[in-house]
């Protein structure tokens, strides 16, 4: 369970380029919820994810995971609670290291690392089993350096690593935006499989409004640092992309503008 209370984030506080990125965000996410987040440019979607991951700290308010206050804990101190897939496929894996070495780093998520060898027979067998679930043939390329993989393969690997060690929260930050449409669909399918298996609490930022409605069980819409709409349950069931756009205009008083937004359908 994730609880955000009165969160405020201000960049360059007190300077001419001050930017009030998040204004009084309150959000309660029960365990197992899958939330998709949409919004215009600069709405604060990524900032919100960064506050949960610990790459940024709020000016006021608290972030609680499992009733534990993690507001000011750095990324590595909440890694056991939060897994993350980045927009840039290059960020989530170590390029020079092999597939199995990358996975061995993820096995020790949030745990103390020791002078034990990072790889052994048992771990390799486990990795082979996990990689086979991706259905990309990576299970036969354990000792292949990750830099030789395609963006989609790297993103699939990151997704697998982000859920290893069973973090309760999975953050997906436009993680298919850098992929071609076909690969993006493949990654979405893998995501669905992994999520049904582990049942983590998911927060996914997306520019694809159709995807935002198709995936997950709840959608929140952000604008200029605020949550302006929180769709769930019955209200969300039969909604269309057109309705979503209309709701945005009604709540924010302007059109949904985003140079990357996908409206299709």
């Amino acid at each position: 369970m994730l609880r955000l209370t009165n969160l405020h984030k201000i960049f360059n506080y007190g300077k001419v380029n001050e930017n009030y990125a998040l204004k009084d965000i309150n959000l309660e996410v029960p365990k197992g919820d899958f939330i998709t987040i949409i919004g215009s440019n600069g709405a604060g979607k990524s900032t919100l994810l960064n506050l949960i991951a610990g790459t940024l700290f709020p000016e006021a308010g608290t972030v609680e995971i499992n009733s534990e206050d993690v507001t000011h804990r750095p990324v590595y101190k909440r890694a056991h609670l939060v897994g993350r897939v980045f927009q840039d496929p290059l960020q989530g894996t170590a390029a020079e290291m092999t597939i199995e070495e990358n996975l061995s780093l993820a096995v020790k998520r949030g745990q103390r690392r020791g002078l034990r060898l990072g790889l052994d027979k048992n771990r390799r067998a486990e990795f082979r089993r996990l990689l086979a679930l991706l259905e990309l043939g990576l299970e036969n390329r354990l000792d292949c350096p990750v830099k030789l993989l395609s963006g989609g393969q790297r993103q699939a690997l990151t997704l697998l690593m982000a859920t290893m060690g069973r973090p309760q929260i999975l953050l997906l930050d436009e993680y298919t935006a850098a992929l071609d449409p076909k690969t993006a669909i493949q990654i979405v399918e893998i995501t669905k499989r992994i999520v049904t298996q582990h049942k983590p609490t998911v927060l996914m930022v997306t520019h694809d409004l159709k995807q935002a409605l198709a995936m997950g069980n709840r959608t929140i819409m952000m604008d200029r640092g605020r949550i302006i709409l929180d769709l769930k349950g019955k209200e969300r069931e039969n909604i269309t992309v057109g309705d979503l756009l209309a709701k945005f205009t009604a709540r924010s008083g302007r059109e949904l503008t985003d140079d990357r937004i996908l409206l299709h359908g």
Binding site: Y76, A94, R113, G118
Partner: protein, 307 residues
């Protein structure tokens, strides 16, 4: 005569192989341009020499010298990670401080060790044949260190260290504290460098406060030569390449000396070598661009003709 020059060169290359591994670790694995090396190399020499002339067991003296290097490297790491001072500057600050510290430790600019008990004289006393003593000892030691370093880089901590240089965002998201890992890595690297300094001074028979000058470039040259000879990013081959690179570098220097280069010119020769090797990709790109521009010109010329 030739053979003994060759043997001496290889011995030097092996001792400097330790230095080269201490440069490889931050530069290639951690992606941290660590200049502490210029201070930790003479630090190792200073500590071991000062202890040896005061009658300390040379093995203990060498161990303590290595430890002093570990501390020096960790200080650079702390300056960089805790005080957020850029890595390059952090190294320069430690290195500069070490100049004063080394003079304090030595009490003067130069300590001769000619009649002192060093690691080599002790082993000679145990009955090792004198002629191949240094060669044997250094070969065994360098490869022992190489194997330990290889093993370490495949442990859980070692892999986190490699990931810190490769993708810091990723290892943090998996719970690795990159600050602590950097401090550890820099400590380890400078421990190796100080060990190299301690052995160098016992091998050549003196410690000198100026013996660190240019060490970083020598180390880099060895790493780069090693990468040219053994083209792989796999750790066990890469560390082997570093040692081979160090020996080849020494051989090249020996040849340059035989060709009549003044010893004082060797630093610029080394620096040019490193510039050339590191700049090669950019130079090649310029050449490709020129070639391509020419081809475009030719084509437009022939197009103009047919029209």
């Amino acid at each position: 005569m030739w053979l003994s020059i060759l043997q001496g060169t290889v011995e030097q290359g092996l001792v400097f192989g330790l230095l080269a591994m201490g440069v490889y670790l931050p530069f290639r694995v951690l992606d941290f341009p660590d200049l502490t090396v210029e201070g930790s190399f003479p630090l190792g020499a200073a500590v071991s020499a000062a202890l040896i002339i005061n009658g300390t067991n040379p093995f203990l003296a060498t161990g303590l010298a290595m430890l002093s290097g570990v501390v020096a490297g960790m200080i650079t790491g702390i300056i960089n990670t805790k005080l957020k001072i850029a890595g390059l500057l952090a190294g320069i600050l430690t290195m500069t401080s070490l100049y004063s510290i080394n003079l304090r430790i030595m009490g003067r600019a130069n300590i001769p060790l000619l009649r002192e008990t060093t690691i080599l004289t002790v082993l000679k006393g145990w009955g090792f044949p004198d002629r191949y003593l240094a060669l044997t000892v250094f070969t065994l030691l360098v490869f022992l260190v190489k194997l330990l370093l290889d093993y370490f880089l495949y442990t859980e901590i070692g892999m986190a260290l490699r990931a810190t240089g490769d993708s810091p965002v990723m290892i943090e998201s998996l719970g690795g504290n990159t600050n602590h890992i950097k401090i550890l890595g820099l400590g380890l690297a400078n421990g190796l460098v100080a060990l190299s300094g301690a052995l160098t001074c016992q091998y050549q028979g003196f410690a000198d406060v100026g013996m660190g000058i240019g060490m970083i470039v020598i180390g880099l040259a060895s790493v780069i030569i090693g990468e040219v000879v053994i083209r792989t990013s796999k750790i066990i081959y890469a560390t082997f390449g570093v040692i081979v690179g160090s020996v080849i570098y020494r051989l090249a220097i020996a040849v340059a000396l035989q060709l009549g280069f003044a010893p004082t010119d060797l630093k610029i020769v080394t620096a040019l070598l490193v510039i050339l090797a590191l700049g090669a990709p950019s130079l090649r790109r310029f050449m490709i661009q020129d070639e391509f521009a020419e081809r475009l010109l030719e084509r437009s010329a022939s197009d103009a003709q047919t029209n």
